[in-house]
């Protein structure tokens, strides 16, 4: 049964520990920025960060030294270019070296799906003819026991903690998600602990039928957090701030400017509400 009484700060300090493997999922949509910022504020260290598309939130966490390892399949600023903090970590080990476990989207989707199903590995037709398997021992070939055909296997991903942002939850902790899903549901079902921030707590969700719900007993805690996905978006609540994503390119290009920005807007704010307010008073770029 999901706990509903925590603040985000409480929930992060209770569930996210130094050294944990954590997945903040959401594919472009519903990226849990507020939770990522809180992890930075609490200076949690040595994390194994897992995410198909690291995006700005992981650029920030990597740049602030939270990560020892990154499992991912596409590490860019979508539609803009590089994640400069990720690049600086990989190219120059700044602020610390980060171990890379690199997949394709299809491979990582299979790994999350296997994790959600508590299978030890996922199967796909993938990676054929590419250099990725030579650099990732987690990509292997196995034979079909019926036809002898060779297919690709990847080990299941089961994060210690998966954190999602969603639109709504009810007072039992059932979480409702609308719009682009990515592998968010698989990442949640694959996790040992699931933490969800939501735009809104409602007394009762409308009848769902085939709509996307993560039932309450899969979820450890639900925390209301308005604007918790910003600068990503929450379908039906607010749009993606594409201008912020573009502005991030220059903020993050330089180490000092990045640190200064993080100190002002993340470390210098007590919570996500203050973070959002801080962007109102100073231009994001």
């Amino acid at each position: 049964m999901a706990e509903l009484g925590f603040t985000l700060s409480d929930a992060i300090s209770r569930y996210v520990h130094d050294g944990a493997s954590i997945a903040l999922e959401g594919f472009t949509h519903l990226i849990p920025f507020a939770a990522g910022h809180e992890i930075i504020r609490q200076r949690i260290r040595d994390l194994h960060l897992i995410r198909m598309t690291p995006d700005i939130v992981y650029d920030q966490m990597i740049g602030m030294g939270c990560a020892r390892k990154l499992t991912f399949s596409w590490g860019g600023n979508p539609g803009v270019g590089s994640l400069h903090r990720l690049r600086d970590a990989v190219e120059h080990a700044w602020p610390r070296p980060v171990e890379i476990n690199e997949h394709s989207h299809a491979g990582m989707a299979a790994a999350f799906t296997a994790g959600a199903s508590r299978l030890p590995f996922g199967v796909l037709r993938g990676y054929l003819g590419t250099d990725l398997p030579a650099h990732n021992p987690n990509v292997r070939r196995i034979a079909c026991p019926f036809t002898g055909q060779s297919v690709t296997a990847v080990p299941a991903i089961n994060p210690d903690v998966t954190i999602l942002h969603a639109q709504r939850a009810d007072r039992a902790g059932n979480v409702s998600i609308t719009g682009i899903l990515g592998a968010a549901r698989e990442a949640a079902f694959a996790a040992k602990t699931v933490l969800v921030t939501v735009e809104e707590l409602v007394d009762a969700l409308p009848p769902a039928l085939n709509a996307i719900v993560i039932p309450h007993w899969i979820v450890a805690a639900v925390v209301p957090c308005l604007g918790g996905a910003y600068p990503s978006y929450a379908h039906g609540y607010y749009e993606r701030d594409n201008a912020f994503y573009q502005a991030w390119d220059s903020i993050s290009r330089d180490r000092e400017r990045f640190i200064h920005w993080m100190e002002e807007h993340v470390l210098g704010t007590a919570d996500h509400r203050q973070f959002l307010a801080s962007l109102q008073t100073s231009a994001p770029a």
């Binding site: 037709r125 250099d131 600068p231 607010y238």
Partner: protein
């Protein structure tokens, strides 16, 4: 006489390759512009799939990211990422995969992972994303990439997505399901694989561009087809549609976002 940029010409050329009954798996950036231009001009029924799981999407403006809300709102349906990769792409339900890359070689193999050695890269690029399996499974691959000797290279730093590998049927011998890169659309014209060697050959040039420009932009000795086709510049309706699409897009992306607080 219409004046247009090479980017525009390239996008229009790419759009023209698409048919009304195609099902396309679309990468972000230039491929996304080309596919939507096709949809807004001669291919209104084309099915566009983005890897965010938005199937049959009809955005009014170009998405900045692969997962903008616009793509979901205008889609036939939105499925999970595992599903779009397994039930659609891997299942062979995609006609055309439309890719970009940082580097391409003469056999249409693509690099979007690193410049320099993988373990110690000079430039760490974003990486694979959906590309390796798009390149593997789509019935045909179209590649869009501006040409210069650093992007059209003799030897990839890293093979992220397989084209014809070393050519001469190696792709088929490996049992790769899709047909491989059938067209490379670049900012001077069009390359297609030779039927025997599968090496990319220059088959068409933008009207007014000479073979020497193409040779200079390509980092390997470029093979040239016996008869080169000429690619006419964008027509007025094509250019008007493309520019209107970009204008709508810029206006939409500049609109301030209201975040609840």
């Amino acid at each position: 006489m219409i004046t247009c940029t090479r980017n525009e010409w390239m996008t229009v050329t790419a759009a023209r390759q698409l048919r009304n009954d195609s099902v396309c798996f679309v990468g972000i950036g230039l491929p996304s512009a080309a596919c939507n231009l096709a949809r807004l001009t001669h291919a209104p029924d084309i099915v566009l799939i983005y890897e965010s799981g938005t199937v049959g999407t009809r955005p009014n403006v170009l998405p900045l990211s692969i997962g903008d809300g616009e793509l979901a709102e205008t889609a036939t349906c939105v499925v999970s990422l595992p599903e779009v990769f397994s039930y659609y792409l891997q299942a062979g339900r995609v006609d055309i995969g439309f890719l970009g890359a940082a580097q391409i070689d003469r056999f249409g193999n693509l690099n979007s992972t690193v410049i320099g050695p993988y373990e110690n890269p000079a430039v760490r690029l974003p990486g694979a994303g959906g590309a390796p399996e798009i390149a593997l499974h789509a019935r045909e691959i179209f590649v869009m990439l501006r040409a210069n000797p650093r992007s059209f290279v003799e030897r990839l730093d890293f093979c992220t997505s397989a084209g014809y590998l070393s050519g001469h049927g190696e792709r088929a011998r490996l049992g790769m399901a899709g047909g491989g890169p059938r067209r490379v659309i670049t900012d001077f014209g069009l390359l297609e694989p030779d039927t025997e060697s599968q090496e990319l050959r220059l088959v068409a040039l933008f009207d007014g561009v000479g073979v020497e420009e193409a040779r200079a932009a390509v980092g390997w000795p470029l093979a040239v087809a016996n008869s080169l086709r000429k690619i006419p510049p964008p027509s007025e309706p094509e250019l008007a549609a493309l520019r209107a699409l970009h204008e709508r897009t810029e206006a939409a992306h500049a609109r301030p976002i209201h975040v609840p607080s």
